[in-house]
Amino acid sequence: MTYYGVLFVEKCTPSTITQLQDVLSTDLISMGDKWSFELKTFRTSAKNTDPNDTKVMHTVQLSHKNNETVTIKNQSAIITPTYVTKALYDNGCVFGTPEPFDYMLSNKLSNIWTQRQSIKGEFGVSYQTADLSIRVNNAFSYSGFQGLILELESKSSDNLEAFEKNVERVRTMLSGMGLSDVRVSSDKSQGSKQEDSSLFDLAAHYLKVLG
Amino acid sequence: MTDTPSNTDPLQSAIAPDFSSVPTQALDALRMKFSQLTASLSKIRDEMSRAELPQWYTLQAQLTVTLSQLSSLTNTLDHYEETLDATVAYPLPSFPTTAHEGLITTLMRKKNIPEVDEWIKDAKETNGLDVDSLSDAEIKKLINKDKDITSWATKCLLDERAKHSYTGLYTTKERQTESIDDRDNLYTSSVSNVKTSRPFSVDKVLKFVNQGESY
């Protein structure tokens, strides 16, 4: 069972990522592929919504998860992939290549949903240490550099306790670099998770630290 | 031959050679037939060496043309047999023999190349006849017999062909035994009168699936 956690370091600079690489280099086993993410925030322009409603919908797209897009509002979420399943195509439900859901929000549902924010990290680096897979990226929005993102992925053989310890180790390491303003969201529950539900949780972590 | 030079220096022959007895008509006719045949054979060879072979009917047409050209060539050779038998080619004194010795020996050679000798030998062996030991009369008899067999084969083919019907919907036997009108026999494509009809309005159904108008 693979566990995930996301850390967001504010109050640092775009070059912090290089310092991080130096610190990690001692534990480094190998480097992985470049990766990117984008978190978009949409706000409803409809009036008289439920006063308790957050009125906000988010989409999260991760390049290392097949570029599937997770769309979240409150407790509901969907995953929209970039490919079509055969059954849908054969039965005339879909005719061509599908779009990610944020396309729908921006292009066809713009009378209800307005994009307010986009935080994205391109050209991120991934590292493999003895304990974890660590993906780091500089996060930017329209107003500029926002902070440093770290995505942690446990080894599939680890249990929750081991993962939590590893997350702590990363926090300590960041602390050692003088970075204490760190927001963390990581898996808290044990139990077998299916592919998709772990993607939902991962997207929720991004949302928690960047929202 | 009347081109004996008056002076003894062969390199300075002032007398123009007399070409009047050169059998130009025969040679020209042959040259033309040979060039046609060579062209056809080259074409077939090129077609066969292509990555994608041509359709069988294309090849068959080319083969037929080639065979008829071969036949025409052999007829021409036969027609001019006497003339050609009495013709001897030789170089004029003005030919630069020292400079082009190889060329002159190639042109004058009468012996076949080994390959051709093999073909001729093969043909004779396949034939089963010892041509050299037969008299002219016997050879003529064999050729006539060959012609007879060919005519017989052609006749067989035509007879067999006549027994079959290649168009229409009935066999010849059926046509003869059951009195079927010859006009019925031909299959002609006809315009069908089957039509479909619309039991409902397409627009109404589309309106339902797009807007949910209750039907």
Partner: protein, 255 residues
């Protein structure tokens, strides 16, 4: 996003077998049975939705379609089905199909794949030879929580539902033809009922889908293919351009 070129027609029940034979020969492919279940949603009427977006562009309220496949095993209750199955479907109910249990299954399964579609009204024009419509599509692979609660959060509510069952012919050229029947599905209280919309006959749709609306070459090619098909079927099945207003999924101001 797909640009869909289309022509429509209809035939009566009796013509079904010959039409299938005809299209089998024309397409060089056997008919394939297909079935889909469609849920149409409309913007929540209790929400006050703007007429313009943030960029001050006019955006009309539009319906959204969610569709999913009906497995043939469910449709035929386990029996092996072929195109003759359609010949038995002339009533409101499909005997071998337990629609209520099917709907309960897909609603409770968060891993049901749904196609999410929003269609634009087909292009206008006086000299139109075909219907040309832009269809925006996304695929919902799975949901956390139910898809209906997500659609609710999106600001949409149930409008109506229907099922298509028919046969599909895939032409080698890329043209697709469908001969199908449509049933409305009504859920009231706990009961689910079906009503046959295409009475006594079948809808016919001939379409050509192009993935990029800027791919002029494919669009032209598709147009030619469909028009040739129209000529080929002339006097037997008349393929026509439908009224584009009937293919408009926008909410009318009168609704």
């Amino acid at each position: 996003m797909v640009q869909q070129l289309a022509l429509f027609s209809a035939i009566e029940d009796e013509s079904y077998p010959l039409s299938v034979e005809t299209l089998t020969i024309l397409s060089s492919n056997r008919p394939r049975l297909f079935a889909n279940f469609n849920k149409i949603y409309k913007p929540n009427p209790s929400l006050q939705i703007e007429k313009v977006n943030a960029k001050n562009q006019l955006v009309e309220q539009t319906r959204v379609k969610l569709s999913t496949a009906v497995p043939l095993s469910k449709l035929g209750n386990g029996a092996e089905l072929n195109y003759h199955f359609m010949e038995k479907l002339s009533n409101d109910d499909i005997e071998s199909f337990n629609v209520k249990s099917y709907i309960q299954d897909i609603d409770s399964n968060n891993k049901t794949n749904w196609a999410f579609q929003i269609s634009d009204i087909p292009a206008a024009g006086n000299n139109r030879k075909l219907s040309s419509q832009t269809i925006h599509e996304s695929v919902i692979q799975s949901s956390s929580g139910s898809v209906s609660s997500f659609i609710d959060e999106l600001g949409y509510v149930n409008d109506f539902q229907y099922i298509n069952v028919g046969v599909k012919f895939q032409f080698l050229s890329g043209v697709v033809m469908e001969i199908y029947k449509v049933w409305q599905v009504v859920q009231k209280d706990q009961e689910v009922s079906m009503k046959l919309i295409t009475k006594d006959g079948f809808m016919i749709k001939a379409m050509y889908n192009v993935n990029k609306s800027t791919d002029i070459e494919s669009l032209n090619n598709g147009s030619q293919l469909l028009l040739k098909l129209k000529t080929d079927l002339r006097d037997y099945i008349e393929l026509d351009i439908p009224d584009r207003k009937c293919m408009d999924t926008r909410l009318n101001h009168l609704d």
